[in-house]
């Protein structure tokens, strides 16, 4: 028994020494490090300064460009090269695979300090593969309205771009407040049917589309649903008889689009849904198509401004969403304004 006691004591002593030494070594080599809470809610230790970034999501990439940290990016997802006009400075960076399933070998080869992905994609395997090799994995969404400001702030701290982050947040908050201040007290909210990318699938609570609709001063007819993207029947929409229909669509590359015909055909299809000519929105022509570029994500505020104007033209006649979009692209993204994003 005594023998064991001594052994255990020695073990504890030894291990505490080791831990102490390890801590000293870590402190000696790591320089400054910060602890942040990412979109999954877990705390991640990030060693500063961050010099090399692999960015798997285009949402995060947009924010990084807005923070003037484009030059830190060493790897991107494969989709970026498909929109060369929108990403002039980034399109030729090495691609490491898709946003949901990147190639870890390529990432390791680029030897970044951190990799940024969505909260849910890619899966936990990313941590398993990369963390042991000293690559920090950070998950930030940049598509949820509620966490947008917090995530921009976190990114600013990680990249040492606090001031740029503050600027972006200020701009974003200001524009959002502009809409929210007017829309929140509104009592006569129009009934809105929000259709997500897939036909007859709406956006219920928990989806970005629902959040945007409410912020813009609309009443989502699916607001008492229990799942975010449920299938619904066309008859239900008819029975609810919404005053406005918002259709989110995703052609990709709207930045390069000149001709609004593809968006128009989406609208025509909605208007031609069987029996929907009895719906108020269709009868009054209040069916609006909105491209994924300004639908959730960093530019959701632009989508919200469009929606606010559609819902309450007299209240929001001071808003100019196109000007807002131009300002954002020129000031924060460093590219000129072009493209087609809404119809009509």
């Amino acid at each position: 028994m005594r023998k064991y006691g001594i052994k255990i004591c020695a073990l504890i002593l030894l291990s505490s020494l080791l831990i102490l030494a390890g801590g000293l070594v870590a402190r000696a080599t790591a320089g400054e490090s910060i602890r942040i809470q990412d979109a999954t809610g877990r705390f991640v230790e990030v060693r500063l300064p961050v010099k090399k970034l692999v960015v798997l999501t285009s949402d995060a990439l947009e924010v990084i460009r807005a923070l003037k940290a484009e030059d830190l990016v060493v790897g991107i997802n494969t989709g970026i090269a498909k929109e060369p006009l929108f990403w002039p400075g980034l399109k030729d960076k090495p691609a490491v695979g898709s946003w949901r399933g990147p190639n870890y070998e390529l990432i390791v080869e680029l030897n970044p300090d951190i990799v940024i992905g969505y909260a849910r994609h890619p899966g936990q395997d990313m941590e398993k593969k990369l963390v042991p090799l000293g690559i920090t994995v950070i998950r930030l969404d940049f598509y949820k309205m509620r966490s947008m400001v917090k995530e921009i702030e976190i990114l600013g701290r990680i990249l040492g771009k606090e001031q740029e982050a503050r600027q972006l947040i200020c701009w974003y908050q200001e524009k959002l407040n502009l809409v929210e201040r007017e829309s929140m007290p509104l009592r006569n909210r129009p009934d809105v049917y929000v259709e997500s990318y897939s036909k007859y699938h709406t956006a219920g609570p928990g989806s970005g589309g629902h959040e945007m609709c409410v912020l813009a001063g609309g009443h989502n007819i699916a607001s008492n649903f229990s799942i975010p993207y449920p299938e619904i029947t066309p008859e239900w929409v008819l029975a609810k008889n919404p005053q406005v229909i918002i259709k989110a669509t995703a052609f990709g590359n709207c930045y390069a689009m000149i001709d609004p015909d593809p968006l128009k055909s989406v609208r025509d299809k909605i208007m031609a849904c069987p029996a929907w000519d009895n719906i108020r929105a269709v009868r009054d022509g209040k069916v609006y198509v909105l491209s994924s570029d300004i639908w959730t994500g960093p530019r959701a505020i632009i989508g919200i401004s469009y929606m606010a104007k559609w819902f309450h033209p007299e209240v929001f006649n001071f808003l100019d969403p196109e000007k807002l979009h131009r300002e954002y692209l020129e000031k924060f993204q460093g590219i000129k304004y072009q493209g087609v994003y809404v119809y009509p």
Binding site: R100, I227, E231, P234, W236, P274
Partner: protein
């Protein structure tokens, strides 16, 4: 002698009355389905609307509810028929549009158009491409089987391999796709009857009904095939032709059944079994009865799917398995003897 022919008549009578029962049940379920919906239209008004020419009630019943019901019936019939034909010509209880990879092929064809059509695609293109890939998979199976000699086991095995191939290809699209395309494909794999209008129905109906007369004409050949290839040949059945053409026709039916509605699994496999357990293996009755069983199953599943959790819809592909599997297992347990 008299006794035997009397017995035969009785048996035939039983089979006929089962078919009549099915038609009645189908009609009843259709009436219930017609009276159920998200709008405030009552049961009485729903039926009255059937005979109106204009108005909201007319629009709801004629443009929204009826297409759904008719499509459910057509798709169910198609899957039931295709399953029966595959099981007959391959003489294998595991054969079905899905286990043979033909539905996966058709699905891949449809998904391909949905993904690469850029949102602007025509119904004909979906149907055509679905049929093309359904045929491609059936020819692959036939080709492999021919190389190895026509054993039905190799065909099923080849079919399962092809099912995996096309499923992977569809998953590959999903993996490569943008977030939006992923949505589209995911929902496609759940199946849905919401998106069909009369145009899609007419295309699907042609693809499913066109082969029916030929298949019914071949009922006797199918019956003889169940005795084995040699016996069937000895009795004058052109086995190769029936098998080749049978697969092509069943592929056409499969493509018609799933190209607009997405994956509605299980029906093609169980409808023939359920029917065979009840009325036996005479294809003159088995073919129509199995089609009707499929129709009843799909229509019931869809009606439950859109009413149980209204206004949210439980995708049809999920509900068919929910109600089909327990029913099938129940029948399987009840039948003690080996029925196949």
């Amino acid at each position: 002698m008299n006794n035997i022919s009397q017995q035969y008549k009785n048996l035939t009578g039983r089979k006929l009355s089962f078919i009549i029962l099915l038609v009645t049940v189908l009609f009843g379920v259709a009436l219930i389905a017609l009276s159920q919906g998200a709008s405030s239209l009552g049961v009485k008004d729903s039926f009255a609307a059937l005979f109106q020419q204009t108005g909201l009630a007319h629009a709801i019943v004629w443009k929204l509810r009826l297409p759904r019901i008719v499509m459910a019936i057509i798709v169910g019939c198609g899957l039931g028929l295709a399953g029966t034909v595959f099981q007959a010509i391959l003489r294998n209880p595991l054969a079905s549009p899905y286990t043979l990879g033909i539905a996966s092929g058709a699905g891949f064809g449809a998904v391909m158009v949905i993904v690469f059509g850029g949102g602007i695609y025509s119904e004909y293109l979906i149907a055509g491409n679905a049929f093309f890939f359904a045929l491609l998979s059936s020819f692959l199976i036939l080709g492999i089987a021919r190389l190895k000699g026509f054993t039905t086991e190799t065909m099923i095995l080849a079919g399962i391999a092809i099912m995996f191939l096309f499923s992977s290809l569809s998953s590959f699209f999903q993996y490569m796709g943008t977030m939006e395309q992923v949505h589209e494909i995911v929902f496609w794999f759940f199946g849905s009857l919401s998106k069909v209008g009369w145009k899609e129905i007419s295309i699907a109906a042609v693809m499913i009904l066109l082969p029916c007369p030929v298949l019914l004409k071949w009922s006797w050949d199918f019956n003889l095939l169940s005795a084995g290839d040699e016996s069937a040949k000895a009795l004058g059945v052109n086995v190769e032709k029936v098998r080749m053409l049978g697969i092509v026709l069943a592929s056409l039916i499969t493509a018609g059944a799933i190209c607009f509605t997405g994956v509605i699994g299980f029906i093609g496999l169980v409808s023939p079994h359920i029917t065979r357990m009840i009325i036996g293996g005479d294809h003159r009755f088995l073919l129509p009865a199995s089609a009707l069983v499929g129709a009843v199953l799909v229509l019931t599943a869809d009606t439950l799917g859109r009413t149980l959790w209204a206004p949210q819809v439980i995708p049809i592909g999920i509900v068919t398995s929910f109600i089909g599997v327990p029913f099938f297992l129940y029948l399987l347990m009840k039948k003690r003897r080996e029925y196949w």
